[in-house]
């Protein structure tokens, strides 16, 4: 929706941000009943599910949902910019934004109004450390710190007493911070043991090449032998960031969460989104990852069965990447990015954006897509509509000290 609206008012985004958001979100025909706590509607057979997928490494939002209509986009993103024409053309979402061509499933869901994009979004974190950024994203606090619980777990705690709530499901060998805390969780990981990802191996090789020739030679040969033994035509090994692993994890999680008595809340983390070099455009490294994510979403759709109808999947990352590509055909740590929603319960078919524009003066610190939407507003909106969590609980317990950040309305059907 809304691109026109967004485009008109780019000159003075600070002052008019609130009003424009109101336009963007408030214009639709949301009936008042839509804001009733859905959780209380269990009587009508609704049994909500929420899946949070964290993309570790900071997803390039401008490459995932490209503002092709923004006159500055192509220049900034250079050789890896998506285009609406030619081979591997981006998939148009509206007359301004287009989706990366590696995500046909998400595009289909979007057309069916079961998927939505929130753009120019960010957590309150404004620096560029992955660790700290992930802390903020997952803890739900306004800044990095040594918090040992995550907002999704505290949301579980905040659910009305007496409601049947299965333990939340953590997918992977460890419980991600977002789901850690006092509320019970269960863990599940695909049986295949993840080995070191190619990305980790490459980073290590790079370090060895600078510091330790002997270690470098041995590791290089070991990796090559391993590859030869497996055969190059083998599917990618399940491992952190592996495309096959994403589908595998999603398939398992969907089977578990789709059960009638399955966990209502689940969290997964996919690694490998730190695209400093050779990020690729319509094809390449990021395209592979996005394809994996797309496949994972499709696995959820299939595997959740009848529960898909009541499901919201939120895909989020710790921060975005620089708007301008760097000298190695990649992007560096930035700020604003996208959040993706998918699921039968999503009121989709929309790109929700208070678009700041990509003119040099509009960029955050002259580098990044400026964030205009607080990611917590998205999370709050979903939690409120899916589970009927009170705004006060959301503002104090789930996302502490966040009363200024109002839940985004109308994200859930």
């Amino acid at each position: 929706m809304s691109m026109e609206t967004g485009m008109d008012c780019c000159e003075d985004m600070r002052s008019s941000a609130t009003s424009r958001r109101a336009v963007l979100l408030g214009g639709a025909s949301f009936a008042a009943w839509a804001y009733l706590p859905k959780f209380a509607r269990a009587a009508d057979g609704r049994d909500p599910r929420l899946v949070v997928i964290i993309l570790r490494g900071a997803l390039d939002g401008l490459a995932t949902v490209a503002p092709i209509g923004d006159p500055d986009y192509a220049g900034l993103h250079g050789a890896i910019a998506l285009s609406s024409s030619g081979p591997n053309a981006a998939l148009p979402l509206d007359n301004f934004f287009s989706l990366h061509p590696a995500m046909p499933e998400f595009a289909r869901m979007y057309r069916d109004k079961k998927a939505a994009v929130i753009h120019a979004v960010a957590t309150p974190y404004r620096d560029r450390s992955h660790f700290d950024g992930q802390d903020v994203l997952e803890s739900g606090f306004a800044g990095p710190g040594r918090v040992q619980s995550g907002w999704l777990n505290r949301a579980l705690e905040g659910l009305p007493k007496g409601e049947r709530v299965s333990s939340a499901l953590a997918v992977g060998p460890t419980t991600p911070l977002v789901l850690r805390g006092a509320a019970p969780t269960v863990g599940w990981a695909p049986l295949a043991v993840p080995q070191a990802s190619e990305d980790t191996a490459m980073r290590l090789l790079d370090l060895y090449q600078h510091r330790d020739a002997a270690l470098s030679a041995a590791l290089k040969q070991g990796l090559a032998l391993d590859k030869a033994a497996q055969g190059d035509d083998m599917k990618p090994k399940p491992g952190a960031g592996g495309v096959a692993a994403m589908r595998l994890a999603a398939r398992g999680a969907a089977r578990l969460m789709g059960a009638d008595n399955g966990p209502r809340i689940g969290a997964l983390a996919f690694d490998g989104w730190d695209t400093h070099a050779n990020e690729g455009g319509p094809v390449g490294r990021l395209a592979q990852l996005l394809g994996g994510l797309d496949g994972a979403l499709a696995e959820f759709e299939t595997g959740m069965g009848p529960r898909w109808r009541d499901t919201v999947i939120v895909v989020a990352t710790e921060f975005g990447r620089t708007a301008r590509i760097n000298g190695t055909q990649g992007t560096d740590h930035g700020t604003g990015t996208v959040a993706l929603l998918a699921g039968g319960a999503v009121k989709g078919g929309r790109v929700i954006a208070d678009w700041p524009g990509l003119k040099p003066a509009s960029l955050y610190q002259g580098r990044d897509l400026a964030p205009t939407t607080d990611l917590r507003a998205v999370m709050k909106g979903v939690l409120k509509d899916q589970f009927g969590l009170a705004e006060k609980v959301l503002a104090e317990a789930v996302f502490p000290d966040s009363s200024a950040v109002k839940p985004m309305q109308g994200l859930v059907v």
């Binding site: 992930q134 499901l169 460890t174 080995q195 070191a196 270690l215």
Partner: protein
């Protein structure tokens, strides 16, 4: 004293098992007085002993093993008699099927990581209906390997308990120098648990009884304790060796086994090229005939204790290294051990191996010569030898170029991550994967001690996988940047620091830290 970070690295890594995490302050302590930090562990009386409730003497363990094996045999005989076909593959040692190899590797990778994160909730077994779903959905082919939950026999239980005690000690030790000495000497005088049930049963007690009490004592005492220990006598077959002219030898038409005698000269004392001949080997083999241990029935002594069986002993005088030994009984052998323990070849051999282990694959000859000199002058005082090493400038100046052995690597990781093991199987799996199964070298020469052995392509690839596994289980809640400070402080290279800081997740950062040259080299 001024802070010396370079020396702290040497103190912690070359001499110890690496800095501990948490609030140990190991790096700062080592940096303020590096040599004192290393030596502190040597001044503790009995600091190398390992006395853990529940660990039993070799004799008690021997009796238990004999009884167990007797029962197994009886059951087998009974089964054979009643013509019931024996269970397929039944045996005291339960070998997994050969085709489970790939899975085993994966399991061990997985399990080592699980072990390192005992507090992680997801490790807990599924408990509700959702988990049956989990099992259901798991793809069929990679079936979990032979049930680990099967009841362990007394031998397996003992091995696990002994392994756990050793692992825990290594992870919590202050700097770890005393434990490193134990590992060095235990490898020098190795036995292999793979030899069979008794060796597996005794692997831990052998080290506790024959190695630890003498690590800071005299070489000659350690030598005697080792060569008279039932585990060594079993490992190198001396309990089968009969003097050809002994009563037992004549009666049973069996004779000499030179295995132990050869390894005493070649591996334990003089070293290859140490000046002994085949005649010396044969003579020593004759001399130590009758060195054995008492069996289940205890006819020669308490079951599982060292005994001298005069009936098996080759009578008469023997010449070893040019000297005639004519004493009677086991005193004859003890006299030989006393002499070769102080032989110049032994001093040279031990000094070289000691320096190679701690300092470099090619240790400075002047250091080796000095250590040999100390060994000789102190009549094999191993504490003096260790102190001489710590006091040598060469040991502090040599670049940290040796790669950690798999054992050193896994222990160092456990220390830095402050994870005290509570289940040995999981470390044991990691050690197997990396080619250094605990107390189970493939030959009597022990595990190799060189970069050539451990800095191998497949080994590095597997280390990376294991590091990833460990990291994926415990990276939450730790900051790899802080851990790098604890491990290397200002000695961390710019590149390593940057690689860790720029990692895209804590998990990746931790895996990279565990694989960094600062962590892999010592």
């Amino acid at each position: 004293m001024a802070r010396d970070s370079q020396a702290a690295l040497v103190a912690l890594n070359r001499f110890g098992f690496g800095a501990r995490g948490g609030a140990s302050g190991d790096f700062l302590n080592a940096a303020s007085d590096p040599r004192g930090f290393v030596k502190a562990e040597l001044s503790r009386p009995n600091g190398a002993l390992l006395e853990v409730p529940g660990l039993q003497s070799t004799s008690a363990l021997g009796k238990a093993a004999f009884d167990y094996q007797f029962e197994v045999q009886r059951a087998r005989d009974a089964a054979a008699k009643s013509a019931t076909p024996p269970a397929a593959g039944e045996g005291a040692s339960q070998q997994p099927p050969p085709d489970a190899k790939g899975q085993r590797r994966n399991l061990s990778l997985n399990s080592i990581a699980m072990e390192m994160a005992p507090k992680e909730p997801p490790a807990k077994p599924p408990e509700n209906a959702t988990m049956s779903g989990a099992e259901m959905m798991q793809p069929a082919p990679p079936k979990p390997s032979p049930p680990r939950t099967a009841e362990l026999n007394i031998i397996q239980k003992t091995f696990r308990a002994e392994a756990l005690a050793r692992l825990q000690r290594a992870v919590i030790a202050d700097g770890g120098f005393a434990e490193r000495l134990v590992v060095f000497w235990s490898n020098h005088f190795c036995i292999s648990a793979a030899k069979g049930g008794l060796a597996q049963m005794w692997a831990g007690s052998f080290e506790r009884e024959a190695i630890r009490p003498h690590v800071l004592g005299r070489f000659a005492d350690m030598l005697k304790a080792v060569e008279q220990h039932p585990a060594m006598l079993f490992f190198l077959d001396n309990q089968q060796s009969l003097g050809p002219d002994s009563r037992a030898g004549k009666n049973r038409n069996r004779g000499l086994n030179e295995n132990l005698a050869r390894e005493i000269l070649e591996l334990h004392t003089l070293g290859v090229g140490g000046g002994y001949s085949q005649e010396d080997v044969t003579a020593l083999a004759n001399i130590i005939t009758g060195w054995t241990f008492a069996g289940r029935l205890g006819q020669l002594g308490a079951p599982g204790t060292f005994v001298f069986n005069a009936n098996a002993h080759q009578p008469g005088a023997q010449r070893v290294m040019g000297k005639i030994y004519d004493a009677e009984g086991f005193a004859q052998g003890e006299a030989v051990l006393r002499d070769i323990a102080r032989h110049p070849s032994t001093a040279k051999f031990i000094a070289g191996k000691f320096a190679r282990h701690f300092v470099s694959d090619d240790p400075p000859p002047v250091l080796v010569a000095r250590l040999a000199d100390v060994f000789t002058k102190t009549d094999g005082d191993l504490k003096a030898l260790a102190l001489a090493l710590v006091d040598s400038d060469e040991a502090w100046k040599a670049p940290l170029a040796k790669i950690r052995s798999p054992y050193e690597f896994l222990i160092a990781a456990g220390r830095l991550l402050a994870q005290i093991p509570n289940n040995p199987n999981l470390y044991l799996g990691g050690l197997r994967t990396l080619g250094q199964p605990l107390w189970s070298p493939s030959g009597p020469n022990g595990f190799a001690d060189s970069n050539a052995a451990w800095l191998a392509p497949e080994g590095m690839k597997l280390r990376l996988d294991i590091s990833t596994q460990i990291a994926s289980r415990i990276a939450e809640g730790v900051d790899p940047r802080d851990l790098l400070e604890l491990a290397a402080a200002d000695m961390a290279s710019v590149e390593t620091r940057r690689t860790i800081e720029r990692a895209e997740s804590r998990q990746q950062a931790l895996a990279l830290l565990l694989m960094s040259p600062e962590f892999q080299r010592r």
